[in-house]
Every structure is written in C-alpha cells, then in structure tokens.
Subunit: 146 residues, 2 copies
DNA sequence: ATATTAATGATACCTAGTCTCGAAACTAAT
DNA sequence: ATTAGTTTCGAGACTAGGTATCATTAATAT
C-alpha cells in the first residue's frame, strides 16, 4: 500500500542506524522479511526464510529490534515465543487462540489498576507481563452461525 | 508449625492418590522436598536436592502437581520458570525483583477489567497470563533508609 | 588507501525439557 | 503368597531454542 519513498523495511533500518548499528546486508535481508510479515512469527520461521543468514545473526537482529522497540515479543498460549511489529511504547495483546490474530491493547487502565493493587500490598511496581487469550470477532462469527 | 497428623507432604500425596496416581517412593521424596520449600524453586533446584530421582520423573511429577492445582508456575522477570505451592484457583503474583519474595494476588478485579476490555474489542476472553514485578515492602525499607 | 571497529557465521555449547523402552514397583485378583 | 496387569521408573538419546567463541569479513572514519 505504501508507494515509493519510505518503506517499512527502510524505517526499520533507519531505527538501527539511529542507534549506531551499521547497515549490513544480513540486516537488510532481515528487515525486508520482517516488513513483509502479516502476523507474528517465530525466530525459526524467520530463519527458514533467510537460510543464507547465520543463526546467531538472526537472534542478534531480533534482540536489537526488540531493544529498539520496533518488535515486540508475544507469548502464545502454548508457550511459544513469537515476534511482531510493535507500535512504540509498552502495550499488551489480545491473542486469538483460534486463528492467531493479535490485537493491540493500548490506552486501557490495566496499568492503573496494577499500580493501585501493588500499592495496596506495599509493593513498588516496576514492571509486568500480560497476555490475554480468547476468540476474535471473526472467529466467533464463522464458528457459531446457528 | 503443623503438629502431627497431616503434614503438607501428606496432603500433596493425597491429592495425587485422589487423582489415581500411585504412591511411590520417588513421589514421596518429591513431595517432601516441595513441602519444605519456602520460596519458589526451579525444576533444576529440585533435581539437585533429589539426585537419586531420575530427571524424567522430576519433570513428570512437577507436571502432575501443576495439573492438580497444588503447584503453580511463576515466570520470573529474567524469563526463568519457577514453581511454588499454590492456593487452589487461578491467581497472580507480585514478585519482588530484589529478594524474590512472591505475594499472591487474589480477589482483585483484574479479571473483570480484562473481561470488559476484551468485550470492547469483540473478543471472547478465554484465559490470560499475568506476572507483576516490583519491590516488596521490606526491600523498600532496608534499601531506602535515608 | 588505510586503520579501526563492528558484524558475521560456523561451530560448539547450553538449558530446559521430552521421548523411548526395558526393568522395577505397585495393586488387585486369585 | 502368587500371579497378572498396569503404572511408574530412570538411563540415555534426542529436541528446541538460544548463547558463547572466535577467526574472518565488511562497514565506516580518516
Ligand atoms: Mn504489539
Ligand atoms: Mn501462587
Ligand atoms: Zn480469530
Ligand atoms: Zn523483596
């Protein structure tokens, strides 16, 4: 949908360069594959699409992209770790256990609630991990047509 | 603190027998170690304390105790999976990143909030995973004495 | 062009498990 | 007590997912 000028892959590489990372051909390859990804993906899936890139490089790239905030980790209900393009900032996901769709959960008041619950226990909140599993709208519709 | 009659280890074994598992000496050994555990522990720590029990048996025992609801899994901030004695029912943990203390989070309204947030997105909630990290009361006190 | 530094990838290694399978142990029925 | 049927055991092979090492190569700065 994006015409010329500034592809998503270019954005990813720019983010790395801003952070002082060199622009190398393995990194360009990784950026291109990730930019074309519709859903969340595993390190292994990425590796299959880039057999010419070394394993260590795949994992290193994922790590720096997560650190840069452009990818986020998503823990599926089966325990498998996936990655997906991230909107900057901390957020959570609604994950469909049926079709794998993932919807971002932004600007809700979960953080506030955790803050107050922690305070009630004398805890100073420093972080949290949350994943929410369920069935998405379209899976509900196609599945319960009666 | 428990006098005679019904030790925690015995409770664990009874839970297994109720579920149709035989009472065997490896299981008794596992139950005894777990019953004496003050904090959450890893499979590996359990293994170190039970060098005579086979590795597969350790993992099998942990799995059935989790399934039975008497142990719960706790994901530490560093990604390591620990186990700890569970009060029955779904609940979450406040985990101190300083001293490792873990406090159960029961009867709060997180579930309700998740329910309504999911509904707002057209999701049918089926489950979630939540861990909360911070500093506990006593760590806060000893650390900021000024 | 040269020097400096960062990045790569082959490979070895590691952690946290799971799988297999013959042997041992438990339980129930005689 | 013996037997038969079933469960459980544990040694060891195997796996997934990831990290450490390190000699070689590539990117950038001068
Ligand atoms: Mn996201
Ligand atoms: Mn708990
Ligand atoms: Zn769906
Ligand atoms: Zn603490």
């Amino acid at each position: 949908m994006r015409k010329r000028g500034y592809s998503l892959a270019e954005q990813l590489l720019d983010t790395l360069e801003e952070r002082g990372y060199r622009s190398t051909s393995p990194r360009r390859a990784v950026a291109n594959v990730i930019a074309g990804q519709e859903r969340h993906f595993t390190a292994e899936e990425l590796r299959e699409k880039l057999p010419e890139v070394g394993r260590a490089t795949i994992y290193r790239s994922l790590k720096i992209l997560v650190d840069a905030g452009v990818l986020c980790r998503v823990l599926l209900e089966d325990g498998n770790l996936h990655y997906q393009l991230s909107h900057r900032g901390h957020h959570h996901h609604l994950l469909c256990v049926e079709c794998g769709a993932s919807e971002d959960l932004l600007g809700c008041d979960i953080e506030d609630l955790l803050q107050s619950v922690s305070a009630a226990h004398g805890f100073q909140l420093s972080g949290h991990w949350l994943e929410v599993y369920g069935r998405c709208q379209s899976c509900l519709q196609t599945q319960v047509p009666a």
